[in-house]
Symmetry: C2
Subunit: 343 residues, 2 copies
Amino acid sequence: MSEPQLPARQLQILLAERPIGRPGEQTFEAVHRPLEPPAEGEILVRVTYLSLDPAMRGWMDDRPSYLPPVALGAVMRGLAVGEVVRSRHDDFAPGDAVSGTFGWQEYAKVAGKDASKLPPGVGWQLALGPLGMVGMTAYFGLLAVGAPQAGDTVLVSGAAGAVGSLVGQIARIHGCRAVGIAGGADKCRYLEQTLGFDASIDYKSVDDLSSAVRAACPKGVDVYFDNVGGPVLDAALANIGRGARVVICGAISQYNATDGVQGPSNYLALLVQRARMEGFIVFDHAPRYGEAARAIAGWLEAGKIHYRYDVVEGLSKAPRALLKLFDGTNRGKLLVRVDPQAQ
Amino acid sequence: MSEPQLPARQLQILLAERPIGRPGEQTFEAVHRPLEPPAEGEILVRVTYLSLDPAMRGWMDDRPSYLPPVALGAVMRGLAVGEVVRSRHDDFAPGDAVSGTFGWQEYAKVAGKDASKLPPGVGWQLALGPLGMVGMTAYFGLLAVGAPQAGDTVLVSGAAGAVGSLVGQIARIHGCRAVGIAGGADKCRYLEQTLGFDASIDYKSVDDLSSAVRAACPKGVDVYFDNVGGPVLDAALANIGRGARVVICGAISQYNATDGVQGPSNYLALLVQRARMEGFIVFDHAPRYGEAARAIAGWLEAGKIHYRYDVVEGLSKAPRALLKLFDGTNRGKLLVRVDPQAQ
């Protein structure tokens, strides 16, 4: 394959400050820098799509976590997919489609070990959606941590989101009753009419969320998959059943809190109901990604899983687009099309 | 055995109100009522000792829980031991030593199925201490829920208390490093010098509890056994290690809260550390009480477990004595000697 011409410079978006609360315009800095050739063992990837995810907010803080903080002045971290355009690694050749933590930039120079080839036939969006980290997160968070049994009631928050929408559908595939919490009537319609959730709760329109959960989950909640934290987590805890599993996947309502995280004041329900609350990091399940991807691909092919994307055009839009996650205004998995030619 | 003479009337202490916050004098009502003879299938027990436990505070609230609330005007619920003085149940005879939920009264008329004979040689105090519910709570909470491995760091709050003191000692017997949090230098000396804890933290004397936990648990906390909740739980969560187990046994700092329970704002450590927080109710482990009692009795006999009691004289003192638990002024398992002749 002939090597494509490359531009002399590329757009990169750097982390310019550690935001207090909500990230703003000043949080990021766009720079145009020369493209560097890959060193021995490295590849150069033209990024096609960048994934925007709530976890990015945590990576901006200077706090020990499951990954080191993004350094100030460094390219902002992000999962992405792209095409190999230069290779100095035996396993890769120009034209290969790959995924990795390529960051907020048009071209990524990475070690070969830090890129994975996409399986044949898997498109860019799918590789950042149900067959990517959000798919793995839903699969292992629900099945390995939540351990649902057929007939269980599975409640999920952020249910119209990239992970939550998969959690509810996978729960139904496993014979569970799926109940979703989302913000807005349109999202709730989507949950029930398109995704097949058994019930939905519009947290923005109910007076008492705990009562609404009780009405939607009359036998109690067996598995609660939490993406949001805050009052929604408390409403779920108030309704857990005996031996329930509360899966802590994220807490998007709390990531921009400036006066401390709101802890779940109903946590003593764990005692009364002999229940557990457990967190997880999807990377720990990497040895089983193949199993999960095969299962999800099968469900997609069988029409058992629906999925949608919210695609923002152009890397320069990423800083503003990220805020959609915190405002809940995205409709589907939030992606940035970095390469305007990418399908 | 000849039946002892019985008084015509007995002292009972009733729940007179549902306390808001801390129980007060007006929470209870002392009455003198005629002794009733047991009906067919029942026994009459002369209570020797009554156990005072933090869980009693929860039983006073009109809220669904693992046991129904104590009804207003009913005898206050409590675990106790005593001697059978009249029996109309084939399994019991006068003179039998029994335990059960006999309540805050001098004589209890209960169904035979609601009483258990004490094993031979087990004295009253022991039966409400390490060989009673507090022993079972420490044993199953630590071993079945906390699942410590040899070499683990086990941190326990309320460490000088009836349950916590056992948790630390059982942890050491299982090859763990035991660290206790307690209030006051004398309790900390007791933990280290008498009970053999590896380290102790006086939460009342440290500026920053989280830093103190970090210093005492340099490899991170593998099992945290929580009896207190509130800021102590948060300090522990800030220091849990990978895959830690946080055992929720109680939350004495929160039981009298009038402005809502303080939820653990550091709960997202569960996510970062892939850890779990789990509650339990000791009654669920009843089928294995025998195993636990044999193990604990063996450790007591071998001198591997020390235990102390704080005995209050006279049932009429029970309402005021209960407050010692919330003030942390008891020194050992809090008991009321209801029968002044009891050893």
